[in-house]
Symmetry: C3
Subunit: 156 residues, 3 copies
């Protein structure tokens, strides 16, 4: 199964490793077998993502933004641990969706993140617990931000 996952990992085209937007670590290892991935945004390559759901972006676009957040996160995790096959399980995602008071499709947006994890890592590894919430705004006006708690395989 670990082998299988390693193969799948090869199918993921990962973007450049995102840089921290401040005095923090994009990925922090802890407790010998866990890591926390900081809130990652949706910007890949030279894309511009500025705006809120139901204003500048549709829910479908938000879904793609959430998937982008995961791509950035996986690039950061791979840079830290060397091999995504070491991931035992995505434990918990927190998905922040910028939008106005009358926007209620945060779950559909967040599915962009967890659908991709399920496709890449399978069930149950790629099916975390999750909260999706609507926030007034995010750093640099990105529409979506995703953070994750991840459990790693035990080291031998």
């Amino acid at each position: 199964m670990s082998e299988d996952r390693t193969k799948k990992e090869i199918c993921v085209e990962l973007p450049q490793v995102p840089k921290a937007g401040g005095s923090y670590a994009v990925v922090k290892l802890f407790g010998g077998k866990f890591l926390y991935a900081s809130g990652c945004g949706p910007i890949l390559d030279d894309q511009t993502w500025k705006g809120r759901l139901s204003e500048e972006y549709t829910t479908d676009e938000g879904y793609r933004a959430a998937a982008n957040c995961i791509r950035n996160m996986l690039a950061a995790i791979q840079a830290e641990i060397g091999d995504l096959g070491k991931i035992r399980s995505f434990v918990k995602l927190l998905v922040f969706v910028a939008g106005p008071a009358d926007y209620g499709q945060q779950s559909q947006v967040a599915n962009g993140a967890t659908d991709l994890l399920l496709e890449l890592f399978g069930d149950p590894c790629g099916r975390p617990a999750r909260s999706a919430i609507g926030v007034s705004s995010l750093p640099n006006h990105i529409p979506v931000e995703v953070e994750a708690l991840v459990e790693l395989e035990e080291q031998d």
Copy 2:
């Protein structure tokens, strides 16, 4: 004490187990002795909960909504682990309260969640760390959402 908690558990009337509103797990076990409960909303049975605090709902109603979130969460946890007596401690709650910029009673709303945990599980098991925040909106326009990190008793 564990026996005592099991008895108390019998006094909780749990609602139907809530279904995940997307591609995630409502409860995710990890690290051999922890679980994360996804953001749970306040809808029990055929109730309607749509709106924000200080608009459609008073702080007292928000308090009851937060308690409902915990009832749903406990139903989901029991479905996953079989027995709420296996819970060693509620570690951390994150309570999201939908409301406008001038609403500041998020702590009072969140007490609806932690007061119920204290009543059911006692102190310190039912007294977690907690953050309560005001958000612009939540999935499907629910007024309150609660997620939790929970520590379980060690398995023999």
Copy 3:
């Protein structure tokens, strides 16, 4: 290094231990070697902090508010564990910044928290993973709130 950290700790002037604003624990130990610090606000001594970023407060003031949140949190952690030298690592910060839809400087505000941790605890101990988000409002209208997951040194 542990010694060094203990010395540094002496250089921190800690405020009074903050009281919980509801039925929760300001600091909750768990898993034998972790703690969660509840969302801490910026109020030290008799200061007033009421308002939102880009309205009542500039980003520089928000930066100082975030540092205050950490001072309050460290006071609470020290009261719980007795010695800040027992902290192995700040794992993850979640920084809530109250502001309007068009505010996008949450990362700069959050740097007020992590810059102080880096100054006091060094790298990598004081460099956690971090998410910074813009929320509509916070309890009692404080502008910034910070929660933290912390790993402790193993007990002998």
